[in-house]
């Protein structure tokens, strides 16, 4: 990490517990439910959720690099992580998981990518933190906290080797 980080003052573990509770309730009775996390923070959250909900065989991860809308300006990112979705998305209830919901563009890209895998019956969005600043008409179904973050700062989820979540704030030099 090249940019200086500082703690956000948010208790990521507590937020996770809150999110888990909401998702558990929200997915009750859902038809063919599955969880898809968006790299990297969303993927970590999805893994933990899948474990806690006993859905590890219905958990996948998504890298949206090929669906971003800023490819023409920025090109392909230096690191593209693999997308793994081993189950059938068609007709399923997909819970998309991201760590921080901001402009909504990542969610739009993830939805487009999901549809190239098949036609889901329903997509719901879970985000640990909603920091506002939407540029597209996107809303989360499950959110643990709504916060204000400075435009020149980025909010990032970290995961320790032991699997502990923390949220940090980073100066955005981009």
């Amino acid at each position: 990490m090249s940019n200086p980080m500082k703690p956000s003052g948010l208790d990521a573990e507590a937020l996770y517990a809150n999110l888990l509770q909401q998702v558990r309730t929200g997915l009750t009775g859902a038809h063919d439910a599955c969880i898809v996390g968006i790299h990297s923070g969303g993927a970590w959250l999805a893994e933990r959720l899948a474990q806690d909900l006993g859905m590890t065989d219905r958990c996948g991860v998504l890298d949206v690099s090929f669906y971003r809308d800023d490819y023409a300006k920025k090109g392909l990112p230096a690191e593209v992580k693999p997308t793994h979705i081993t189950f059938d998305v068609a007709g399923a209830t997909v819970l998309l998981v991201d760590d921080v919901l901001y402009t909504g563009r990542t969610t739009r890209a993830a939805i487009n990518e999901l549809f190239d895998y098949g036609r889901p019956a329903r997509i719901m969005l879970a985000a640990l933190v909603d920091r506002g600043g939407r540029q597209l008409p996107v809303a989360a179904d499950f959110v643990a906290a709504t916060v204000q973050v400075d435009q020149c700062e980025a909010l990032r989820l970290q995961r320790s080797d032991a699997g502990q979540f923390t949220l940090t704030i980073e100066e955005n030099h981009a």
């Binding site: 669906y67 392909l76 895998y117 098949g118």
Partner: protein
């Protein structure tokens, strides 16, 4: 002329040869390719990266296989593909190569995939695009004369990385007509760039070019010697024309000394993999038992080839000059 492959930011602007590519760029292409491998398994086998872009396949030398894989790769990136059989076209009527390029650029081509019988032809095209400041147009060398076939070199490296993981403790042997092979040259540059400690070339003297040791290669004319302890065997196709040029007496004699039989394969490491750029001449350079055997990874090479080409094209298309 500065290295025409890289733009002033050191990013890939054209892919002309693996020679001169920084190791970081080679690895970036391989890493990106692994993300594209999964695309073929989806219901919609496409990503929208090159939507609205036009890729022109300029094949001055016939090749259905390579052209088809580039076409598939382009379409999986959602690009529009136009195939031009240049032998039947204006250049054979006397239009110069550069005039042809200008005409196609005027039709808003974004990328030229070029295969040509002459070494260096894609450089001419790239230089012309640079001189005329068309920084949004990219050239991919799909094989020029005997000089280079960089996407084949890259997919061969991807294949090796997939099965062997670490390049730095491998012995790799390339067998056959290295003199005339652009695949061999690209493989050699790629292997040395990625740090393979021992690269071997195996063939009769008439098919081994001079200067191989300057390229970091150990030569063997005895195949049994050359295959001892090898981790990767890359077999090259033997073309019929070689018999006409007084380079070889016959196919039978070639197979006797340089064909990859199960007995010869056993001299390599037990987990050695067998590769071939295709198309294979069974019974000429490779025995069917080996080609169809468990150590051959020839079909996976084809699959990887599409992903590698998708990676190359999407990296290029995302870089402005």
């Amino acid at each position: 002329m500065l290295n025409p492959q890289l733009n002033k930011n050191g990013e890939l602007q054209h892919l002309l040869s693996i020679e001169g590519l920084p190791k970081a760029i080679v690895n970036h292409i391989l890493d990106t390719a692994s993300s594209f491998v999964g695309v073929s398994d989806r219901e919609v086998k496409k990503v929208p990266l090159m939507r609205g872009k036009s890729v022109f396949n300029l094949f001055f030398e016939n090749s259905t296989r390579t052209r088809t894989t580039f076409e598939i790769a382009s379409k999986r990136l959602s690009a529009d593909v136009i195939n031009l059989n240049m032998q039947a076209s204006s250049t054979s009527k006397g239009e110069s190569l550069l005039d042809t390029i200008d005409n196609l650029s005027a039709m808003h081509a974004d990328m030229f995939v070029v295969r040509h019988a002459q070494s260096g032809a894609p450089y001419m095209i790239a230089k012309h695009l640079i001189d005329t400041r068309q920084n949004h147009v990219h050239v991919v060398n799909a094989g020029d004369g005997r000089h280079a076939h960089p996407t084949q070199g890259l997919l061969d490296m991807y294949t090796i990385r997939h099965y062997k993981k670490d390049f730095t403790n491998l012995t790799v042997a390339i067998v056959g007509d290295i003199l005339h092979s652009r695949v061999a040259r690209s493989d050699i540059h790629a292997l040395t760039t990625l740090g393979v400690p021992e690269v071997r070339a195996i063939g009769p003297h008439t098919l081994l070019p001079g200067g191989l040791d300057q390229m970091g290669v150990r030569t063997f004319t005895n195949m049994n010697e050359g295959l001892k302890g090898v981790d990767v065997i890359i077999m090259l196709r033997l073309q019929n024309e070689r018999m006409n040029g007084a380079l070889l007496p016959s196919v039978q004699e070639y197979f006797k000394s340089y064909g990859l039989t199960p007995e010869r394969l056993a001299l390599a490491k037990p987990d050695a993999i067998v590769m071939h750029p295709g198309p294979m001449n069974r019974g000429v350079e490779i025995d069917s038992a080996v080609a169809d055997g468990p150590q051959a990874v020839i079909l996976p090479q084809v699959t990887f080839g599409i992903a590698v080409r998708m990676a190359v094209m999407s990296i290029l298309a995302g870089n402005q000059g």
